[in-house]
């Protein structure tokens, strides 16, 4: 079976500094991978490069998504193919109503895939269903995208989009940052509801805490731009006990 995502020997620079020095990662459908590591190890860079954020220069290696060259695609083409990045810090977009944004984005993805646009009633029905599951009040959907949302509301809005767009690869970048336990639980429940044999997730986190709620199949430890250790979910607990220092020395 062809892997969903294959990152091979990826080397990335930002300005003159190399951040990733030959990173490799293979993710199959149905799997949940956790990527852990200290600040500055390159975790977020990896997520940005997969999503196509400008400002990163790939100097070596490749990323294949369902066997296709992901790096050759624009960010919007990647989204239409099924790549979804849940942002660590979702931006606020004043003046663009959340509903308008959701409909425009969903229809843009469908159009790129050669599918018909959703009718307004079908779209509204779908959004209401998903929002209700995530405890997102309708009033929030009428506001500007993320404008005046709390940290927890912003993350729930990310999960809402994930549920609506139905991507095949979800990358969660530090989803736990800025969330208290209750907010984290709601967001994690939303994510868990989306686990499926057809979908893979890459959960990027600094702390083991999040992995109590979203239990991974595989854990990778990053340090200084490389994966330095991979294992099962027990590796996360090991890290919780011993910290990252051992890997920083090894790398």
């Amino acid at each position: 079976m062809m892997p969903l995502l294959e990152v091979k020997n990826l080397q990335v620079r930002v300005e003159e500094r190399e951040i990733l020095h030959g990173l490799s990662l293979t993710v199959n459908k149905g799997e949940v991978h956790a990527i852990m590591g200290p600040n500055g190890s390159g975790k977020s860079t990896l997520s940005h490069v997969i999503a196509g954020k400008p400002g990163y220069e790939v100097t070596g290696g490749e990323i294949l998504f369902n066997g296709e060259d992901l790096l050759a695609m624009s960010p919007d083409a990647r989204a239409a193919k099924g790549v979804f990045l849940a942002f660590q810090y979702p931006v606020e977009i004043p003046g663009v109503a959340t509903m308008t944004f959701l409909r425009t984005a969903l229809n843009a993805q469908r159009k790129a895939r050669g599918e018909g646009e959703y009718s307004t009633p079908d779209f509204l029905k779908k959004v209401r269903e998903v929002a209700a599951k995530l405890n997102i009040p309708q009033e929030m959907l009428r506001r500007g995208v993320n404008v005046g949302f709390s940290g927890g509301e912003k993350k729930r809005n990310e999960v809402l989009q994930m549920a609506l767009f139905e991507p095949s690869l979800c990358i969660l970048d530090e989803m736990d940052s800025g969330l208290d336990i209750d907010a984290l639980r709601v967001a994690a429940d939303g994510v868990n509801a989306l686990r499926s044999p057809d979908r893979a997730m890459v959960v990027i986190t600094h702390y083991q805490r999040l992995l109590n709620y979203i239990v991974p199949d595989f854990v990778h430890v990053m340090s200084k731009g490389r994966v330095v250790k991979s294992g099962g979910k027990e590796l996360a607990l090991e890290l919780e006990a011993s910290g990252y220092a051992q890997f920083e020395d090894a790398a």
């Binding site: 999503a51 196509g52 954020k53 400008p54 624009s74 960010p75 919007d76 990647r78 989204a79 239409a80 979804f84 990045l85 942002f87 979702p90 931006v91 977009i93 004043p94 003046g95 663009v96 308008t100 944004f101 425009t104 984005a105 969903l106 843009a108 993805q109 790129a112 500007g144 989009q161 767009f165």
Partner: protein, 442 residues
């Protein structure tokens, strides 16, 4: 006399010739003809405004107005047919349409029957040829030293004169449409007047459009508005002229006491355009909201020059202006607020923001506050910037192609200026005009 020497540029000389040729065709004899002559002399003393005249610093007509086109001929049947086709695209449901084709009132394209009680509509030509002295005086009234106003006074050919009686609240919006029919390249000089009586209310929309075949033409328009005590005017102005057109419009608005003026302008058409508005408070307790949007690309040049004259106490004004400039476009916003010595408790605020979509785009913002009273609240701000890359990336990561992501952010950027339009239908009109521009960008 340096000014006289300067006036004798080729363009300036051609305008003198144009006046000499046209004067016998222009409506109004006797005092009107004399007033025209005086206005033309006033124009000739200075000639076309240029960059050394402070008010025209960014819009140098000696550079931007290369040709003087002959005065437009009255539209023939073919021109009216082309105009009618253009009107279809810009029709406003439920509005009373008053159409000027090539600067001449077109009765067959206009709706002048079944007037609401308290509403009177005449053409400028009628009023200048046979109107009462009071209306004529108001039409010739503006003691505006600006030379383009003087030129318009000299050459004005037709327009619409609207009177709304005391206490009349019009339910049907009035829609003045200026259509260029695409006949030979020519110039049109129009002037319209709207008088709102005490406690009256009305909605006025002005559109500047062109038939599909229209290319080069020049619009010289002016609007005189008086808003009586306790009256209210909602005004929307949409400039969607052809991309080779030239449009200079001046307006002069006077508010009585406890009056309200809500005005919004959007310019997405014309090659070179300037809208210069003077809004004067003549009675206490009045309010003005004046908002505008410029959407420019290619080599378009659009100038909005607003002058708010707080001459009396206890009045409020709000100005929100947004410009979006792509390619080598050039947007100019000049906002001058004067608070005269007795105008205590004035509350005046002005905010202008420009969004530049290319490295060669230019936006000049010139806010000016002159405050001579000591108990006032006044403020202004101006910013210029590019689209926020982090917002663009967020939208693209959600599947929006680059242009669509830009469009959404541009709509949000101009939205604040459009939101202040109170009437839902009018606001929709402005949104649609903005969308037309965005769609034309591709």
């Amino acid at each position: 006399m340096m000014n006289v020497a300067l006036a004798k540029t080729d363009t300036g000389r051609a305008l003198s010739d144009a006046f000499a040729v046209a004067r016998d065709r222009l409506p109004g004899a006797g005092k009107i003809a004399e007033a025209r002559q005086r206005a033309f002399e006033a124009y000739e003393r200075v000639g076309l405004p240029h960059r050394r005249i402070e008010d025209w610093k960014y819009t140098d007509l000696r550079v931007l107005m290369r040709d003087v086109l002959p005065l437009a001929a009255a539209p023939d049947a073919a021109a009216l047919t082309r105009a009618a086709a253009a009107l279809k695209l810009h029709a406003i449901e439920g509005a009373r349409r008053l159409v000027l084709v090539d600067g001449v009132f077109a009765p067959n394209l206009s709706e002048t029957g079944g007037l609401e009680k308290g509403l009177a509509i005449r053409t400028l030509r009628e009023v200048l040829e046979a109107g009462d002295a009071r209306l004529q005086a108001q039409l010739l009234g503006p003691e505006n030293p600006d030379t383009m106003v003087a030129l318009n006074s000299a050459m004005m050919t037709d327009g619409v004169v609207i009177e709304v009686a005391d206490g009349a609240a019009l339910t049907q919006p009035l829609h003045i449409v200026h259509v260029a029919s695409g006949a030979a390249p020519s110039a049109m000089f129009t002037r319209s007047l709207l008088r709102l009586g005490k406690a009256a209310s009305a909605t006025l929309v002005e559109s500047y459009i062109a038939a599909a075949s229209a290319k080069t033409y020049q619009v010289h328009d002016s609007l005189i508005v008086s808003i009586g005590d306790g009256a209210r005017l909602d005004h929307v102005r949409l400039v969607e002229d052809s991309r080779e057109a030239f449009n200079i419009t001046s307006s002069q608005v006077t508010l009585g006491a406890k009056a309200h003026f809500n005005t919004f302008g959007l310019t997405s058409g014309s090659n070179v355009s300037r809208y210069q508005a003077t809004i004067a408070f003549a009675g206490e307790g009045s309010r003005v909201e004046t908002n505008g949007v410029n959407l420019l690309n290619g080599r378009q040049h659009a100038d909005s020059t607003l002058f708010l004259d707080h001459a009396v106490p206890n009045c409020g004004s709000r100005e929100i202006f947004r410009s979006v400039v792509d390619d080598r476009g050039h947007s100019v916003f000049q906002g001058r607020i004067i608070v005269r010595p007795h105008a205590q408790k004035t509350d005046a605020k002005m905010m202008t923001r420009a969004l530049l979509l290319s490295d060669e785009a230019e936006a000049d913002n010139k806010p000016e506050l002159e405050i001579f009273a000591d108990d006032v609240t006044c403020g202004h701000g101006a910013t210029t910037g590019a689209l926020d890359e982090s917002l663009l990336f967020y939208l693209r990561a959600r599947g929006l192609p680059e242009k669509e992501a830009q469009s959404l952010l541009i709509q949000a950027f101009v939205g604040e200026a459009i939101e202040s339009i109170v009437n839902d239908g009018m606001r929709e009109l402005a949104v649609t005009a903005a969308q037309r521009w965005l769609e034309a960008r591709g």
